[in-house]
């Protein structure tokens, strides 16, 4: 009897988990339109990606994805409610329907995409593990780091990537692991280690914490692939398409030279058919997505094209000053590429 009961409990659990993992097609957009806002899961604090200013407004590259989706659906980028989530609860929150989008520096991996009942809609930031060194060391490439003492900001895969990289290049190193980013920044400053390794986006944030940020440089090598992107529930293709094409619209807008400043004028008098199709002056591409005709205009006008949000949040126009690198457009040597609107 006991046996039967516990089996039953397991089955029920599995059923509940399974059911809540899959949403019905079209259900999310309907629900979002009904409640009047997009519920967006963001990080509980990551410089440049999601953080709050003095007035309590959320800002950042990941936050802008949420705002862009709201602009596409409602024509109003402010119709977003944010749920700050910790790394551990993020997938549950999405699976259980607590949030409609998860835009929280989440690395796209096969297991997450396939096993968790989630779909990655694209990549809004190509991250990867890198190295931060003091300029005094005179090192210009990670290949010259043989025998270095390396400070590691403890992460899930940081240590593994590091040991793989040094072994593959036949180099030796001494690791020192720290739990928080503040500790590791302090120890680099005190000279306890020659190199600090972490995801590149984090290294730029670390650099600001140092007394003289200009004395330090992030080396060009990237030793791991960390594509970060927004995630939605599996099974609702319509909502998946909306989030995915919101990202694509921002990248396409940058490629076509449409900015928040010129988007309205461009929409009126453009001669370029690509631009006309993107901005809805030609064709009915918004309707296919069940969005208003001017969905892309609203995204670019209220949030900006991809280049603008990058600059404002993490790039040259921000405190972090991260270079475009992998996140440059495909025709400028980067990986940001969006299919055409046609």
């Amino acid at each position: 009897m006991k046996m039967v009961k516990s089996t039953l409990a397991v089955l029920t659990t599995a059923a509940v988990l399974g059911v809540s993992g899959f949403a019905q097609a079209g259900a999310t957009l309907d629900a979002v339109q009904k409640k009047g806002f997009v519920q967006c899961g963001i990080s509980d604090g990551l410089p440049g990606f999601s953080y709050a200013d003095e007035k309590g407004n959320y800002l950042g590259l990941d936050v802008d994805v949420c705002r862009a989706v709201a602009a596409a659906v409602f024509g109003d980028a402010t119709k977003v409610k944010y749920s700050p989530l910790t790394a551990k609860e993020r997938f549950t929150a999405l699976q259980s329907g607590e949030v409609d989008i998860l835009s929280r520096n989440t690395t796209w991996t096969s297991s997450r995409d396939a096993a968790l009942g989630l779909n990655f809609t694209g990549t809004n930031y190509y991250d990867g593990q890198g190295f931060l060194v003091n300029k005094k060391l005179g090192v210009s490439s990670a290949k010259e780091l043989d025998g270095a003492t390396v400070c590691i900001q403890a992460g899930t895969t940081t240590e593994l990537n590091l040991s793989d990289y040094f072994r593959a290049n036949g180099m030796k190193y001494t690791p020192i692991t720290y739990d928080t980013s503040d500790e590791s920044a302090k120890s680099v400053e005190a000279g306890r280690c020659d190199v600090l390794t972490s995801d590149q986006s984090q290294l730029y944030a670390q650099r600001i914490k140092l007394a003289n940020p200009d004395d330090y440089v992030v080396l060009p090598e990237v030793i791991s692939k960390e594509p970060l992107g927004p995630v939605v529930r599996q099974g609702d293709e319509e909502w998946f398409d909306i989030v995915r094409w919101t990202l694509f619209a921002m990248v396409n807008a940058e490629e076509l030279g449409v900015t928040s400043a010129n988007v309205e004028a461009t929409a009126k008098d453009t001669k370029n058919p690509d631009v006309a199709r993107l901005l809805g002056t030609e064709g009915e591409f918004g309707k296919d997505l069940k969005l208003p005709k001017d969905w892309a205009v609203q995204i670019v006008k209220q949030v900006g094209n991809y280049g603008e949000t990058f600059d404002r949040n993490v790039g040259a126009g921000s405190e972090l000053k991260i270079e475009r690198g992998l996140n440059a457009l495909w025709n400028k040597g980067g990986l940001q590429y969006a299919p055409p609107v046609r």
Binding site: T13, V16, L17, V19, S20, A31, D44, G45, L46, P47, G48, Y51, A52, D53, E54, K55, G56, K81, Y82, S83, P84, L85, T86, K88, E89, T92, A93, Q95, S96, G97, E98, D182, A185, A205, I208, K209, L210, A211, S318, E319, L320
Partner: protein, 365 residues
Amino acid sequence: MQTHTFKPDLPPPRMSVGAVGWLKANLFSNWFNSLLTLFALYLIWLVVPPLLQWAIIDANWVGSTRADCTQEGACWVFIQQRFGQFMYGFYPSELRWRVDATLWLAIVGAAPLFVPQMPRKAFYGLGFLVIYPVIAWCLLHGGVFGLSVVSTSQWGGLMLTLVIASVGITGALPLGILLALGRRSNLPAIKVICVTFIEFWRGVPLITVLFMSSVMLPLFLPEGMHFDKLMRALIGVILFQSAYIAEVVRGGLQAIPKGQYEAAAAMGLGYWRMMGLVILPQALKLVIPGIVNVFIALFKDTSLVIIIGLFDLLNSIKQATTDPAWLGMATEGYAFAALVFWIFCFGMSRYSLHLERKLDTGHKR
């Protein structure tokens, strides 16, 4: 007749009075203690001057951005700029008066309880405990009397810390007392239930409870049904702490001599009257230090809600340090959090000392 005149008393030896005497008695009574004193002085000299230098002398007090701060000292500008957020979290700034009003109502409403001459204190206190939470909820959350709704996800800062702590304390104490009575009950069913409950909740760490409430629970609820995150945490905290309170109170119940129970029964008092009028007043008085200890621990444990993404005081500070405009201010932030927590915990322990002295009506052993 010979009269005997006393000689005037000699003054005590100079080494045993005044500052010198105090020093000799307390700090340099023998060579070992002298050594310890010198060592402690050395430690103080090592720690305190640099700390003062950093926190006060070299510190930056005025300005509005990180650029206004020098690298040498603490940058209190950060605390100043973010003070509102540390106190109220993301509560809309034009509605913060509602939080203030809630706090003032608590102070004004509870004040009569501290006046010794107040008649019918128990009734007033019970009434206050029933009515106040309703008013507080209406004020903080809104949605009635034309107050706009501020969802709990916008609550944060010290306000959230106090909400969790006070709800946890007021919820856990009555539940804990009932559990303690239940555990000592003669009815087997009640006893088994209470023992199981207490041992279960004492057996799991609070972090697990919070984690389960935020990660596992939503998966078991039907689609589209969402339990408020703060509510889940509050229920977890109350159940968890009530188990600890129950054990503390049980200690008090066991310390009451059997004669008290028998005397109360001999007077014809029923179970609840015996407990309410004779046993509990004595038992609770005995365990004040234990209960306050649990409360102080609870107050500090509230910062564990950081793992479920609620923005209490500590998490608000942590989040503010991730603003690129204020990167590298973690030390200042955590120092501030420590100060605030210390003020509250110290206040609680002082109040418990005062309570003990006030209620000390004999039974000194």
